[in-house]
């Protein structure tokens, strides 16, 4: 396994281990009137212990075995992925305020641009038209066809 892959692997497993420790400690502050051990904190405690043991075991074995093994590196996150996640977060953030039509058109345009890479002026114009038309089609299909209430935002 290459260095970056091993590093990502260990980072994610360490985060899981840390979260399971937090989960375990939080179970002691859970509300409960049950006097025996079978209260609402019983199962979360069990799960967090299992997660701690498993992720600890994985960290131990991964360090040992990955020094020997060599595998292809598949784990590097690309800018495109992270930008797509950012775009999605932005889309959800403005969905209610701007409304479905505007937010979706803007999101679709930038996401298509991101997937397509370099575009000519003509393609960019075509993408704008496509984004607006697709958003409108989805909006009318769901709001009129399937009676789903979608956010109207500033157009409402």
């Amino acid at each position: 396994m290459k260095k970056t892959s091993l590093c990502n692997d260990l980072t994610v497993t360490s985060i899981i281990l840390a979260l399971s420790v937090i989960l375990f400690s939080t179970t002691f502050s859970m509300e409960s009137v049950a006097v025996d051990f079978l209260g609402p904190s019983f199962f979360p405690r069990l799960v967090s212990i299992a997660l701690m043991v498993l992720s600890g075991a994985y960290l131990f074995t991964a360090r040992k075995t990955n020094r020997k093994a060599e595998e292809a590196d598949k784990s590097v996150a690309s800018h495109k992925d992270l930008l797509s996640l950012g775009l999605m977060a932005f889309y959800i953030l403005v969905l209610k305020r701007l409304g479905f039509l505007i937010a979706s058109s803007v999101y679709l345009y930038f996401q298509i641009l991101l997937c397509q890479g370099k575009t000519t002026k003509r393609e960019a114009l075509w993408n704008i038209l496509l984004s607006v038309c697709l958003s409108a089609a989805v909006y009318f299909l769901f709001s009129k066809g399937f009676s789903l209430i979608l956010p109207q935002g500033i157009l409402g």
Partner: protein, 494 residues
């Protein structure tokens, strides 16, 4: 009972929805990079306003279409449209190269049809019996069964069993959020009102599977997997009876493998087609001919992957345990319509269950009609620009999550699970155990706590119950075998 099922679906609207589902399923199955899971994520919002019969019938069409559609690109492009068609490329494409693409497609379509039909008959006879037995089970038996399912899917769905187990427990940890169903106490809600009812299943499913998969393909865009399209010509069925002479044993064997693999949680069509191909090769009188473009390979692969469809529905309908990722998404569809799959489904929603059986048969027939009738159109659709399709699917996923309860919170849940899925898949953690842990977590907790309450906190009672003890023993055996296999592999590599 079958008549009752058919009476529920034999109307223009339902048949129309099934046909729509089959068509979209074939398109998503045929285009490499798109999956049936994405298709169901995309179409789930459409089902909000439908009756349960229409919604589930359409999704059954989607299931069958997406499972079978993979053969088109497997044969013509040498790229499997879905993981269920990997083994189809081994002999399908060499046949296409030899100028027998029409024959390969024809045999693939007909094998898919009969494989599916066999598994639906098995489903029809097996499911009610299993449901009757399941009703008799108590918390100890259920705990054993759900725990076994979780261990099985966690250890077999990836190369590293430890990662699978961690993923399964992550899913269980996420399922704890919300008010405890047994005693009404809030857990990990952090005072956020929306978290009281827990993290919604649908955005979680769509986020984990569809968003993380989409993010992966966004990276490759239109420059992803590409292959040279072979020309084809189909006349009639594309093959003669002489071509499939002597395939009876291969067909029956593949049907059995597909159905049994489908029943086991976490395996599904992707394992069934390869296993069936290997068995067909090993039991053949001419194993050396496999891979050179022979009919046997296509029959084995395409029969088994469609036979896995009916198999995967057995644990879903009878026990509420999904057999693969698609059936996990189907649980979301059931829940949208206030239906809980499980042993009581046959009693509480009998007509719906038989309508699903009938829809499967109709969808199977429509799959054959569409694949023969619109093959040219499906082949043209292999060139759909993905840089437009993927963003549109993401918008539809957001619509589906938002439309569930008309709240933005569910769209954030979608994104959260998308990020979790993306991070886990980037570090090669399997995703299926996460979702199975999320679905089975509340069941495991309920049966474990009920069992312990019943036995006054006696853990040994779980080992004294024969069924539960067998399940726990099998779970331990599965985990031990997987760790042994992993250690052996590591030693070989080093």
């Amino acid at each position: 009972m079958f008549a009752l099922g058919f009476s529920e679906i034999l109307n223009v609207v339902t048949i129309g929805f099934i046909a729509f589902g089959v068509f979209i399923g074939i398109v998503f199955g045929a285009i490499p990079g798109l999956t049936g899971t994405m298709a169901v994520a995309m179409l789930l919002p459409l089902t909000f306003g439908m009756s349960p019969v229409n919604a589930l019938s359409m999704l059954m069409g989607l299931y069958i279409g997406s499972c079978s559609g993979g053969l088109i690109s497997a044969i013509l492009l040498n790229i499997p449209g879905t993981a269920s068609s990997i083994a189809t490329t081994f002999d399908g494409h060499p046949m296409a190269v030899k100028g027998q693409a029409g024959k390969a497609l024809g045999i693939g379509i007909v094998s898919s049809f009969f494989g599916g039909l066999f598994s639906f008959i098995a489903l029809f006879f097996l499911a009610p019996k299993i449901a009757q037995l399941a009703v008799l089970c108590g918390p100890l038996e259920y705990f054993g069964l759900t725990f076994f399912a979780l261990m099985l899917i966690s250890t077999v769905s990836g190369d590293k069993p430890l990662k699978g187990l961690i993923a399964g427990f992550i899913g269980m940890a996420l399922s704890i959020v919300g008010i405890s169903s047994m005693d009404g106490y809030p857990r990990f809600t952090f005072g956020i009102l929306e978290l009281s009812s827990g993290l919604s299943l649908l955005p979680a499913l769509v986020g984990l599977f569809a968003i993380s998969e989409l993010l992966k393909v966004v990276q490759s865009g239109d420059k992803g997997e590409q292959g040279e399209l072979e020309s084809y010509h189909i006349q009639g069925f594309g093959f003669s009876l002489q071509d499939v002479k002597g395939q009876c044993r291969n067909f029956l064997q593949s049907c059995m493998i597909g159905t049994v693999i489908g029943i086991l949680p976490g395996l599904g069509g992707s394992t069934a087609n390869i296993l069936s191909y290997v068995v067909a090769k090993n039991t053949s009188k001419h194993p050396e001919a496999f891979g050179t473009g022979i009919v046997d390979g296509i029959v084995a692969s395409e029969t088994a992957n469609n036979a896995a469809v009916g198999g995967a529905l057995v644990p879903l309908l009878t026990l509420g345990i999904p057999g693969d990722t698609f059936t996990a998404m189907l649980i979301g569809a059931f829940m949208i319509h206030g239906i809980t799959p499980g042993p009581l489904l046959f009693k509480t929603n009998g007509p719906l269950v038989y309508a699903i059986f009938a829809a499967l048969i109709v969808a199977n027939i429509l799959m054959v009609v569409f694949e023969y009738g619109f093959m040219r159109m499906f082949v043209k659709m292999l060139n759909i620009p993905k840089h437009i399709l993927f963003p549109l699917i993401i918008v539809l996923c957001v619509v589906g999550s938002y439309g569930l309860n008309n709240r933005i919170f569910d769209a954030w849940t979608l994104l959260l699970f998308g990020i979790i899925g993306y991070a886990l898949s980037k570090t090669e953690f399997p995703l299926s155990p996460v979702i199975l842990g999320f679905i089975l977590g509340p069941m495991v907790e309920l049966y474990l706590r009920r069992g312990l309450q019943m036995t006054e906190g006696n853990f040994l009672a779980f080992f004294k119950n024969p069924f539960c003890a067998t399940c726990l023993l099998l779970s331990a055996a599965v985990v031990a075998f997987s760790i042994f296999k992993m250690n052996k592999h590591t030693k070989e590599v080093s």
